[in-house]
């Protein structure tokens, strides 16, 4: 098709003239130039011939009986549609007005009588070049239009697939508000939220470098890893390490993902945050003051595993506090003068809300007011997470995806974790995974995880590390507790924590027995400040254990805890039935 501009094939030329002699001269002349000629004696014949067999170029006498050249030109141009069919008027008209009328009627040029062989040949060649150029441009335009349509269709399909993998998880929770462009995935923005099996939730806000399909492709494994690991109970740090390693491996050099991981614990009313390359997060306190959470890390996919730092900042919060995280589209939202919304304006928007307003709405309204348009038009991703009482979010983790496979019913296993690994590795996801092999326990993952986590935390912090939960009662002590925990973990040696899990079937369901032993010197599980108080965190833990397990026994000065957990078929069936309807 691209040879078209240089093709020398004969042209098909339609001529119309009511003078037989003129027609004969022109026809012969064009034949001699090597073209095919069809001729008509008036405008109507010409239009009919054109309709029947088309033509590359048309030469029309201006004044003809039946239908004159002007009207024929109009019909021929209409029949040609998008195709450029050069139309040249032949005339012995001499006044300028008449010649101009020929062009207004749709003519592209005119030839005056007497015919001049050289001029006719030159004009036909010139118009043929224009015709071929027009055809090439039209073909390219059609090609671009087709490709664009195809691209949009593919994007729509890709988005459907992506939405299935990277669903929005629990972004519909009552304490979350967010704004994301409907096609944000093709801007490279991602926003996921997933309940943790032990309660609370984990949220990932991300912004890939680049746009379009490359950015969307990187988002797929991020979604898989984030949802898969979070719902199995892995901590934010664990998920971050895995994400960083995976992205480092699959993304080309120069491409990475600015991200923030937020781990919200509504029991403890605390937030753990890791910010790698996103704009400062803002924690808006109940009293209207706010603190910023700046990026302290490189984006995901930049550093190798050895140098990657996944430690999360711990923030104590109160119910009513709100965390805002955003991608740089928020700060870079432009007004008509090309200025950006920016950090200062964001803070001014937040300063106005007092103690009752919504931080999310204040920022959205601020952007709208500044840019003069709806944020929908930009790649703006904004998340707001309100800290609430845990009871407000009950039942959220029920929706964790199930495997359809049947699993083992009668088993026993012992897992012991020792020395340095106590500080580096959490055995909880693995232990939960083992328990989740029992179909009847899958709907109970939250409770099982809580049991395992409380037993492990007690064994590690009070048993092995010998920390006192009293410290956590005050804000200063809270910090000291975690600092001391870190310090002691560094030097832990000659210690172990051993889990023995046994599952067996009963008449009405099954029974899981969890025994957790540690190498510590024991702790006073009868001390009211540890066990009975529901203010201390550890105290709450033991209360929970009692509530969830059918029995809780401490032996050997508290170095051995036994929990027996019964589940029933009817309960499981009822809950599964409940989610199906």
């Amino acid at each position: 098709m691209d040879g078209a501009l240089s093709d020398n094939r004969p042209l098909k030329i339609l001529i119309a003239d009511d003078s037989d002699s003129d027609r004969l001269i022109l026809k012969t002349l064009l034949h001699r130039l090597g073209h095919e000629v069809e001729d008509a004696g008036n405008g109507e014949e010409a239009v009919n011939l054109f309709r029947r067999s088309g033509a590359d170029i048309v030469l029309l006498d201006a004044l003809m009986p039946v239908m004159d050249g002007m009207e024929a030109a109009y019909h021929i141009k209409a029949l040609a549609g998008e195709r450029l069919v050069p139309l040249i008027f032949m005339t012995s008209l001499s006044d300028a007005d008449a010649l101009a009328r020929c062009l207004e009627a749709g003519g592209d040029d005119f030839l005056t009588k007497p015919y001049n062989r050289v001029i006719i040949e030159a004009k036909i060649n010139a118009f043929n070049r224009m015709r071929l150029m027009h055809r090439t441009l039209s073909q390219h335009r059609d090609l671009i239009r087709d490709r664009n349509r195809q691209l949009l269709e593919e994007q729509a399909v890709a988005k459907r697939v992506f939405d299935n993998v990277a669903h929005t998880g629990c972004l519909n929770a009552p304490n979350i508000r967010y704004h994301a462009s409907p096609l944000s995935i093709f801007n490279g923005d991602v926003l996921f939220a997933c309940p943790r099996p032990a309660g609370g939730m984990q949220i990932l806000v991300g912004d890939f470098t680049g746009h379009g399909l490359p950015a969307a492709i990187g988002a797929m494994p991020v979604a898989e890893i984030f949802y898969g690991m979070t719902s199995k109970g892995f901590s934010g740090s664990d998920v971050l390490r895995e994400l960083n390693q995976k992205l480092g491996r699959i993304l080309p050099t120069g491409m990475f993902c600015c991200a923030a991981m937020i781990q919200a614990d509504f029991h403890l009313n605390q937030l753990q945050i890791w910010n790698g390359g996103l704009p400062d997060g803002v924690l808006v306190k109940r009293d209207g003051t706010f603190e910023t959470i700046p990026s302290r890390h490189l984006p995901l996919g930049v550093l190798g595993s050895g140098r990657f730092e996944a430690g999360m900042e711990v923030l104590r919060t109160d119910p009513g506090d709100t965390l805002l995280m955003m991608t740089d589209g928020v700060l870079e939202a432009e007004n008509q003068y090309g200025q950006m919304y920016g950090e200062e304006r964001l803070k001014r928007s937040l300063a106005g809300i007092g103690t009752t307003g919504s931080a999310f709405e204040a920022v959205m309204a601020g952007i709208h007011e500044f840019t003069g348009k709806q944020p929908e038009q930009d790649d703006v991703t904004l998340l707001s997470l309100e800290m609430v009482e845990e009871s407000a979010l009950e039942g959220m983790s029920d929706g964790v995806a199930q495997s359809a496979l049947e699993g083992p019913a009668e088993w026993h296993c012992v897992y012991e974790i020792k020395d340095r690994s106590l500080g580096q590795f959490s055995p909880l996801p693995l232990l939960l995974h083992i328990c989740m092999e029992v179909p009847g326990l899958r709907r109970k993952s939250g409770e099982i995880y809580t049991l395992l986590a409380e037993l492990y935390t007690n064994a590690l912090e009070h048993g092995v590390l010998g920390l006192s939960s009293d410290w956590k009662a005050t804000p200063e002590g809270f910090g000291r507790y975690y600092a001391e925990r870190e310090r002691r973990l560094q030097s832990v040696a000659e210690h172990f924590i051993r889990f023995s899990l046994t599952h067996t079937m009963t008449e009405r369901g099954g029974q899981l027995t969890i025994v957790c032993e540690d190498s510590g010197s024991g702790f006073d599980y009868l001390d009211p400040s540890t066990v009975a108080s529901d203010g201390g965190y550890s105290g709450r833990g033991l209360m929970l254990l009692r509530k969830l397990g059918h029995s809780l026994l401490f032996r050997d000065k508290g170095t051995r805890a036994e929990v027996v957990y019964d589940w029933q078929f009817s309960e499981v069936a009822a809950r599964e039935g409940g989610t199906n309807t």
Partner: protein
């Protein structure tokens, strides 16, 4: 009266060159065509149809110019003007002049055919 030549020798030579074997056909066609057009002019005049008169004169003018009969073309052009400005009073004389010039041209052209 015009001082243009009856026939443009140069134009005719070029036509002969272009038309080759078909030159005879062209001349015959022109002669027959012209006779028809003179009849048209007369009929338009009889019906006092100035517009049709003007159009016929215009078409005739075109073929005369192409064939290389400039003086006849000039006469047609004057007739066209007269028709357009509705001066049919002068037109009868013009048609006479056209017809007489055409006979002259025809006679000369036929010599080319021999």
């Amino acid at each position: 009266m015009t001082d243009k030549p009856h026939l443009d020798q140069e134009a005719l030579t070029e036509l002969q060159d272009v038309m080759e074997d078909e030159f005879d056909i062209l001349i015959n066609t022109y002669i027959k065509d012209s006779a028809d057009r003179i009849a048209h002019l007369r009929s338009a005049l009889a019906q006092e149809d100035a517009d049709r008169f003007s159009r016929s004169a215009h078409s005739f003018k075109g073929s005369c110019i192409n064939i290389g009969a400039p003086r006849l073309g000039e006469l047609c052009s004057e007739a066209e003007q007269a028709g357009r400005s509705n001066r049919l009073g002068e037109a009868a004389a013009m048609v006479e002049a056209i017809e007489s010039e055409f006979r002259q041209v025809e006679k000369t052209l036929r010599r080319f055919l021999e």
